[in-house]
């Protein structure tokens, strides 16, 4: 897997005493809404305060509070920078941090001027420092490492953001600005243009974030992007309202119902950095709901349809609209007319660029696909040949080890122990090689399993007996079994045992020794009617094996059933495994007309539940009873 934001570990915090991050981390599990609600409360408070004060005091409050909020945002993003190792993620967050820093400096200058009692000039040096915020933040967001965004996609995203921004500018120009353009003589053209950049920058930012949200898949980034989007949303309101009001009143206008929203927006954006530090992936939280909404409302086919049939034609429609309006404009507003034409032209050019980038991406994707297929075939060949090459030296070594074991009695005890250790390792190696062989065989032989009625209880008992002591902790594990007696499935005895052994073995390997493992089975009644899927038209038995271990991150679940795949977390641990067990189980289950799948939240302590579906053999099901079996492994 490519290196993704998921894999980049944050360096451990420098000090041992509770840091602010640790305090925030302790909030994990509690609904995170109360932090943004706090922002809402502050917002309300500020609106109230600002309606009560006026003059320089008002200016002071409305300039200083954003400065404080920005200071918090900057410190949050800077902290993230410090805790990330060198690389693209750090670069991205440095850009974001720098963006907040320049904005903070600009805002502080303005705050200083207001506190000094002077009137804020419309155009100050601070204005120049406000502007870099937008390109820096966009650059930072686009730089964030994300394997779901290929290289070309970022360029295309920029182009699309350009199109959206121009459309926004054009439409707002048409509807709001043009009527006010020539009227307001109190403000010069340059200032008018400058004031336009803020709402535009906000639109560009929010477009970037929304597109990123729709296209990235890493769950860690979603809260960050979401809170940034909300913050910028408040900004859009703030800047647009300010602009329109100023144009109306011909002077820079402040209002208690506009200014606090800047502070609110900044606080929310700052929150995103803190969320990234705390890394929340709690289920039931706001972004689980968001993800769900994204998946159902903005489904990929729908998104594709929109991107293919609507979006490219949008600038053409704008051009038409602008041309029509241009004809209607009185001759006194020629400047406005020219601006509209220029905008439409720019939008068309950007659309063409986007199409070119898309085509190039398509060709790249086709080439990559072909290469991937070739590599897959090569991988199979390689595994076969390596497997073959391994067997002869393995046999040589095994022969000598067995010879030594044969003569073990003649050797001193200490040497005998060493030989025993070598022997065990050798056996493990042979097991591993054999399991690879099993996979190759399953791949090639046709699924001609012979079917018979298999007693589940017996199969389970045999499966338990078959568990390799090497694979499980040699300790007493509590196994809670809930099987209706007399339950029979339609399949092959050996295969059913194999699947159960594999899953139980995994449950033991990947959960702490003190935790329970639950095995249960229930009959799933047949669905009747035309809408029932073919597999469900017979009665089936669903077996569930639940462990309370580390769980499996939901986005990694589809990969688990592939050959040779082990989770990165497990590869780095001491647990032995070949990555073949689940692949084998799925093959076996499907061969018996069943299925196998897993449910997990990825939360340590909640573990995972593996479900096996197998056809029911006969209707001999009595009433249920639960048994607790303490299974001791003597090794």
């Amino acid at each position: 897997m490519d290196q993704s934001v998921l894999d980049i570990p944050l360096k451990p915090p420098p000090a041992q005493h509770p840091t602010p991050v640790a305090c925030l981390a302790s909030l994990r599990g509690k609904p995170f809404l109360f932090l943004p609600l706090g922002v809402l409360v502050i917002l309300g408070l500020m609106i109230f305060i600002e309606t009560q004060v006026s003059g320089t005091l008002y200016m002071a409050v409305s300039q200083v509070s954003p400065a404080i909020a920005l200071g918090l945002a900057f410190s949050g993003t800077f902290w993230v920078c410090l805790r990330l190792p060198k690389g693209q993620a750090r670069l991205a967050w440095s850009c974001i941090s720098l963006a907040f820093f320049t904005y903070f400096v600009a805002q502080s200058i303005d705050a200083g001027i207001s506190l000094a009692g002077s009137v804020l000039p419309l155009l100050s040096l601070a204005e120049l420092l406000f502007i870099p915020f937008y390109p820096l933040l966009i650059a930072g967001l686009l730089l964030l490492p994300s394997p779901s965004l290929k290289r070309g996609s970022r360029g295309r995203l920029l182009v699309e953001v350009g199109i959206i921004t121009i459309a926004a500018l054009g439409l707002s120009f048409l509807t709001i600005i043009a009527p006010l353009w020539d009227i307001s003589t109190g403000i010069d053209v340059f200032t008018k243009v400058l004031l336009t950049t803020y709402p535009l920058g906000d639109v560009a930012l929010i477009a970037t974030i929304v597109l990123l949200l729709l296209r990235t898949t890493e769950s860690v980034m979603r809260p960050v992007l979401f809170w940034m989007a909300l913050g910028i949303g408040l900004f859009v309101y703030n800047d647009s309202a300010l602009y329109i009001l100023s144009l109306h009143n011909r002077a820079l206008s402040n209002s208690p119902f506009i200014d606090p929203f800047a502070t609110g927006g900044e606080l929310l954006m700052g929150l995103s950095a803190w969320f990234y530090l705390v890394h929340s992936t709690e289920p039931g939280s706001l972004w689980t709901w968001l993800t769900h909404t994204r998946e159902t409302t903005f489904r990929a086919p729908r998104r594709r349809w929109f991107a293919q049939y609507v979006f490219p034609y949008f600038p053409l429609l704008l051009l038409l609209l602008f041309l029509i309006v241009r004809e209607q404009l009185p001759s006194s507003q020629q400047t406005a007319a020219y601006i509209l034409e220029g905008l439409a032209l720019a939008a068309i050019l950007l659309t063409i660029t986007r199409q070119i980038i898309l085509n190039r991406d398509l060709v790249d994707a086709q080439v990559a696909n072909e290469r991937a297929r070739q590599l897959d075939a090569l991988k199979d060949q390689f595994i076969t040949s390596v497997n073959h090459e391994l067997r002869t030296p393995l046999m040589t070594m095994q022969t000598y080890v067995e010879l030594l074991r044969f003569r073990q009695k003649e050797l001193p005890e200490r040497l005998g122990k060493l030989i025993e250790a070598i022997g065990r390792t050798n056996d493990a190696l042979v097991d591993l090689v054999q399991s690879i062989l099993e996979v190759r065989r399953l791949d090639q032989e046709s699924q001609d399993f012979s079917h018979e009625a298999v007693n589940l209880q017996n199969a389970l008992e045999h499966a338990i007996a078959l568990i390799n002591p090497r694979e499980g902790n040699i300790a007493e594990r509590v196994l809670q079994v809930d099987f209706p007696p007399g339950l029979m499935v339609w399949g092959e005895t050996v295969r059913v045992q194999q699947v159960l052994t594999n899953l139980l073995s995994n449950a033991i390997k990947y959960s702490p020794p003190e935790s329970t493992i639950e095995v249960s089975a229930r009959v799933v009644q047949a669905e009747s009617g035309k809408r029932a899927k073919p597999a469900r038209q017979r009665a089936t038995i669903e077996i569930q094996i639940r462990d309370y271990g580390l769980g499996i991150p939901p986005e990694q679940i589809p990969l688990l059933f592939h050959r040779f795949v082990r989770l990165p977390r497990d590869l780095a641990s001491n647990v032995v495994g070949s990555g073949l067990g689940l692949y084998l189980c799925q093959n076996l289950a499907k061969g018996m007309d069943g299925n196998i799948w897993v449910e997990s939240e990825g939360v340590p302590g909640k573990g995972s539940t593996f479900h096996i579906l197998l056809p029911l053999a006969e209707a001999g099901v009595d009433q249920q009873h639960t048994e607790k079996i303490a299974v001791a492994y003597a090794g």
Binding site: N387, H388, E389, R391, T392, P393, L394, M395, T396, Q398, T399, Y400, E402, L403, F406, R407, V430, V433, L437, R440, R441, Q444, E445
Partner: protein
Amino acid sequence: MSISPEPMYTVLLVDDNQDLLQAMSFALEEIGGFRVVCANDGVEGLELFFEINPDCVVIDVKMPGLSGYQLVRAFRGDSSSLETPLIMLTALAQDKDQFAGLAVGADVYLVKPVKPQILAATIHQAIKESPHERTRRYQELVENENPPSTF
């Protein structure tokens, strides 16, 4: 009445891997109690076979030059070697290879890695069940005037 001792069987090993040959040789002598003769390739195996007339031959399938399969066909083609049990040893486990091995005329097909105890037991069983061994036992019966009481 004398109990005739278990005869010491001779096994011919044919494999191109020298290390494995040595290991198997030691193990079969130690654990199986056989007398072992090694051949490093197919041609040498053929020569040694007709020289020493072993009770069993263990053949590796993949060898350069005369491959294991060709060797088995050579043995089965000759009337004197028709009944000697042949055990094929290989790293390739695909079914079609197994089928090919048996169709060619081998008796047993083992997939590496095989524990020496299992190899020894397989050789013992193959020898006891082979027509070669049966013939020899009859011959001993005829040659000894007193039939051995262990029969």
